[in-house]
């Protein structure tokens, strides 16, 4: 019985040999239950050991294996071969990031942006001592930011965002969603200190609400919603500062 195969066209780039990336075709076994990552792992194990890519959990929770699959940013562990078979699958590194090698992209830009929004609970007067117990939070308070806390930093949203592609200074969907996650957390008091970065020209205001970030997000974080909510909150702040500038901070 002839084994079914599926063709993968993978963008290769060796910084020490190539001046530009180029596609290379591989025939991988086709299985009903396989995902693109399974095919790529097979290629590396059995066909071409030089193929370089990131992956880890293979179940959609670590955010390592983001790639462009037929032009759409996806987690390769969540893209089933059966959705493409018998057509070839085009695999490229995540868009809008510099290619380091093959399917591995440089994520430093996001790492800096993530740190800049202070992704931790900020307390104005320092943390309370352990003896005083934990900060209490109701389920309703938790619900307000829960979706935004589901981000796995997979960067599919940055690959889908044309604003980030055209102007890489843009803070970006995931960073802003994470800023909102903390701003909306009842235990946090850091919204004012995040505003300088979040409400900056390169922050929320560079977003033109294309909305594709929320479409591609594998964890349904809805970064587009986070950004628009932040815009509304910042605008209300601005009117407040205009109407009663003596208001206390």
């Amino acid at each position: 019985m002839a084994n079914k195969t599926i063709r993968l066209e993978i963008l290769r780039y060796d910084p020490e040999k190539d001046s530009a990336p180029h596609f290379q075709s591989y025939e991988a076994p086709y299985h009903e239950e396989w995902v693109v990552l399974d095919a790529i792992n097979h290629i590396k194990d059995q066909i071409d050991g030089t193929l370089t890519y990131r992956w880890s959990c293979r179940m959609g929770v670590c955010g390592s294996c983001g790639m462009m699959i037929n032009g759409t940013p996806k987690l390769s562990c969540s893209a089933f071969l059966r959705d493409y078979y018998p057509n070839p699958v085009r695999v490229e590194p995540l868009a809008n990031f510099p290619i380091l090698r093959d399917l591995v992209v440089q994520l430093d830009d996001f790492m800096h942006k993530l740190v800049s929004i202070q992704p931790w609970i900020v307390r104005k007067d320092g943390e309370k001592p352990v003896q005083e117990g934990e900060y209490l939070q109701t389920p309703a308070q938790h619900a307000k930011y829960k979706d935004f806390s589901m981000c796995i930093n997979c960067m599919l949203c940055y690959a889908a965002c044309p604003a980030y592609g055209l102007e890489p200074e843009f803070l970006g969907p995931a960073a802003i969603a994470l800023a909102q996650r903390y701003n909306l957390d009842s235990r946090d008091e850091g919204r004012d200190s995040r505003q300088e970065v979040v409400s900056a020209h390169d922050g929320i205001w560079k977003c033109t609400f294309v909305g594709e970030c929320s479409v591609v997000c594998p964890k349904h974080v809805d970064p587009a919603g986070a950004i628009q909510q932040a815009k509304l909150a910042s605008t209300i702040d601005w009117y407040k500062s205009l109407l009663w500038p003596w208001g206390s901070k």
Partner: protein, 127 residues
């Protein structure tokens, strides 16, 4: 180490239907603005007297003017419908642990639109 930076193609907005819809939505504001200019011109002509006003209205019956109105109407509708449907994204209203269904924020926009249009139509048509 020589990271390779891929340039975004000039036709990036043609690569996905959602990008194209986004660009059309943004373009719609040009036509909405254009119609506002036309409307202001009409008010001005009205103030200048019946002769100028009639001349302006005659010019509006030219094929080019009618074409502009048809296109502008299509874009104005696109503008209104896309932005109405996006309202719930900017406003998160919570009832306990559940969020208010998006429809509850979208529908009032459409209702308001119909009501205001109805009132204006009643006034203009001499009700």
């Amino acid at each position: 180490m020589k990271p390779y930076i891929r340039q975004m193609p000039a036709g990036w907005w043609l690569k996905r239907p959602s990008y194209l819809l986004f660009m059309l939505r943004e373009l719609s504001s040009v036509f909405v603005g254009g119609y506002v200019v036309l409307f202001l011109m009409m008010i001005r002509r009205l103030a200048q007297g019946p002769a100028e006003y009639e001349a302006f209205m005659a010019a509006l019956r030219s094929p080019l003017a009618i074409l502009f109105h048809v296109v502008a109407l299509a874009f104005a509708l696109l503008h209104t419908i896309t932005w109405f449907n996006l309202t719930p994204k900017a406003m998160a209203v919570w009832r306990g642990e559940e969020r208010l269904p998006p429809a509850m924020m979208i529908v009032p926009n459409y209702v308001g639109w119909v009501v205001v249009s109805g009132v204006i139509a009643w006034v203009v048509l001499g009700g």
